[in-house]
């Protein structure tokens, strides 16, 4: 009897565990599979543009960029950002468990079901959704996007988003209401604070997308819901109320990861903690009131207000950058792979951020809107920025999650290839965009002279793919031939390093005293004082 029962239990533990660490790990694996699939679509798109439009039809190209964008936003970066929080926020605040473990489990399966629904559009006769990751009405209505691919996209996105809202609720409740004794709000680690503001945006911003998609579905089936130009504006307003904060949801957690990495590997306490927390809260609030800068060219909403708030984002962003640089200042720096990726994030995100200032100005945005300049800006923030922050986090926390060190040499090779690939792929897009190359077109006339730079970008994307292969090889090698990590291989500052690697089911056997946002650094400093 026992022999029969054990596999069933093992399956149940794998598929239905309520342990936040297992849920988060499963979510990361699911998201990584979608990342590979979405990356494949990107390579197909780049091949199309390099081959002068000779690989796929315009309709297929529309499906490719729609599903690439949708996959990366709804199924990869947002879920990964939240999954890392799901794993580490309870550990960082000294909680034994996530708040609402079954709700978190439901979120995981909503992501799986949503992703499968979206991708199953490729199996339908009309093909997958082809109305961009925004799904704008009227492009996405039943006249311009007939067939079930669009329906599957709507329900898939709704499910994945609902799952993300549930996760955010769990993380927020854990950070705010499940903290260990001594862990006051102003002693929460930097990463936990970035997750708090991220989850605030998810919980209070993402429902707008559910409403927009619900209206879109009703419009497709009954009509008369999103009527004429006003209906299209209403859909866009609702969508971008989700669509801009989501950019920060794909950014803040990685800012937190980079903050932890910089403090640890410069062996210094994080500089300007209180200012950083206030800047984060201000930043998150502002980011909920800039969404209509995506609609400048409509000329319907108050461009002046949205230009003002969009430009004001520089202030909290500047405070965060200042804190990062001051943390590094006079630190004893250790150039590990995690640290290199964190530095890569700082430099490359700056390019994305500064080009955002250009787009925040309505007169300039009128010229650059819908061009490859916007594509370049977006990819410098999300890929050159956030993905680098994510890899910094992966190299930093992999030993805690698996109990095994990743190989540093392969990690550094991964970093070099990724810097090279990223900049070769995305930087020429600024030039092409400024020259007037509009996005979402499968074939450009040869007379434009854009072919050379397009071929260069495609070569860059191949280098990115190679860097991902190196990363996968690193994971495989490190997991097969294990170098044990111990509890705290980096000399880190926060509570997750006070437990075993990987942590036990209920996270801690004992907690150290918590007197600041860096309790392990406090302990080390106290020991050094005693020794002196």
């Amino acid at each position: 009897m026992n022999a029969v029962a054990v596999p069933a239990r093992a399956a149940s533990r794998t598929l239905a565990s309520t342990d936040h660490k297992r849920i988060a790990s499963a979510a990361c694996m699911v998201a990584f599979l979608f990342f590979l699939a979405g990356g494949l679509l990107a390579l197909l798109m780049r091949s199309q543009l390099a081959a002068d439009g000779g690989v796929v039809s315009q309709q297929t190209y529309n499906e490719l960029f729609t599903m690439h964008g949708s996959t990366m936003v709804y199924l990869v970066i947002v879920p990964v950002a939240l999954a890392v929080g799901l794993y580490f926020v309870p550990l960082q605040v000294g909680a034994a468990e996530i708040a609402g473990p079954r709700v978190a489990l439901a979120g995981l399966w909503m992501l799986v079901c949503g992703g499968m629904a979206m991708w199953s559009g490729f199996l339908t006769s009309g093909g997958a959704a082809a109305a961009s990751w925004w799904g704008f009405d009227p492009l996405s209505d039943s006249i311009h996007s007939p067939g079930s691919g669009m329906e599957l996209w709507i329900f898939g996105v709704m499910l994945a988003t609902l799952g993300q809202i549930l996760w955010a609720g769990c993380i927020l409740s854990t950070a705010l209401r499940r903290r260990a004794p001594g862990m006051t709000l102003m002693r929460m680690p930097v990463f936990t604070w970035t997750m708090v503001v991220t989850c605030l945006m998810v919980v209070f911003g993402f429902p707008a997308l559910l409403l927009a998609l619900g209206l879109l579905w009703a419009q497709r089936h009954f009509g008369g819901v999103l009527v004429g130009g006003a209906g299209a504006v209403d859909y866009q307003a609702l969508f971008w109320f989700y669509g801009h904060p989501v950019v920060y949801v794909m950014f803040f957690p990685f800012v937190g990861m980079v903050g932890e990495v910089l403090a640890t590997f410069s062996s210094r306490r994080f500089f300007g903690y209180s200012a950083f927390v206030v800047a984060l809260l201000a930043f998150a609030g502002l980011s909920m009131t800039v969404w209509a800068h995506h609609m400048f060219t409509f000329g319907v909403l108050s461009n002046k207000y949205f230009a003002l708030t969009s430009t004001a984002l520089i202030v909290p962003a500047g405070i965060e950058y200042f804190d990062f640089l001051a943390t590094l200042w006079r630190g004893s720096l250790r150039f590990t792979t995690a640290f290199l990726f964190a530095l890569g994030f700082l430099v490359q995100f700056l390019v994305g951020g500064l080009t955002g200032v250009i787009l925040a100005s309505p007169p300039l945005d009128y010229g650059l809107n819908m061009s490859y300049f916007v594509v370049a800006h977006f990819h410098y923030t999300i890929f050159a920025g956030s993905a680098f922050g994510l890899f910094a986090g992966i190299y930093y926390w992999f030993p805690k999650i698996t109990g095994t060190m990743l190989r540093e040499r392969l990690g550094k090779l991964h970093f070099v290839l990724m810097v090279l690939g990223t900049n070769v792929t995305f930087f020429p897009m600024f030039i092409l965009g400024a020259e007037g190359m509009t996005r979402r077109i499968a074939r450009y006339p040869a007379s434009t002279g854009w072919q050379g730079l397009n071929i260069l970008e495609t070569a860059g994307s191949a280098v990115i793919a190679l860097s991902v292969l190196v990363f996968m090889a690193n994971m495989l090698v490190s997991l097969r031939d294990r170098h044990p990590a111990g509890d705290d291989p980096w000399g880190a500052h926060t509570l997750e390093w006070a437990t075993s690697s990987p942590p036990p089911r209920h996270n801690f056997r004992a907690l150290p005293a918590i007197r600041s946002y860096a309790p392990l650094l406090d302990l080390r400093e106290a020991r050094e004082d005693v020794n002196v």
Binding site: T18, A117, L159, R177, V196, V203, G205, L238, L301, S302
Partner: protein, 124 residues
């Protein structure tokens, strides 16, 4: 008092201030109402957490945690099928509703088991 509500109340207030600042720019109803609703929801959540914290201060209670929950997974599959049914027909909605009910039953069973465990622990 864990002061958790302060974060929600302060952030809700900040959203309110930013929404109110639109008044100087002759806003359209939609651009004003969406962040206003979000800010109000955040303030309301803050008040709920404030009340919860006040109750919790009177005494922490032990928690029982379900180790795994197939019922939750079943419930989500039911919900997904029912949702897809809205696009593909009543038959799928009905199948989804059935699976959902099955999952809901399982979750209720788990809840009862949790209550039993807590009662047993309390009587020791």
């Amino acid at each position: 008092m864990r002061r958790a509500a302060i974060v929600l109340l302060a952030w809700g207030l900040w959203l309110g201030v930013l929404t109110g600042a639109q008044a100087a720019f002759a806003p359209k109803l939609i651009q004003f109402s969406i962040p206003a609703v979000a800010g109000a929801a955040c303030l309301a959540a803050g008040l709920v957490v404030w009340a919860l914290d006040a109750c919790q201060a009177r005494g922490e209670r032990p928690r029982a945690i379900t180790d795994s929950s197939i019922a939750t997974v079943t419930l989500v599959f039911g919900l997904a099928l029912a949702l897809l049914g809205a696009g593909f027909g009543l038959w799928l909605i009905l199948i989804g509703a059935g699976v959902f009910a099955l999952g809901l039953g399982g979750v209720m069973r788990e809840q009862r088991a949790r209550s039993r465990t807590l009662r047993r622990e309390g009587s020791r």
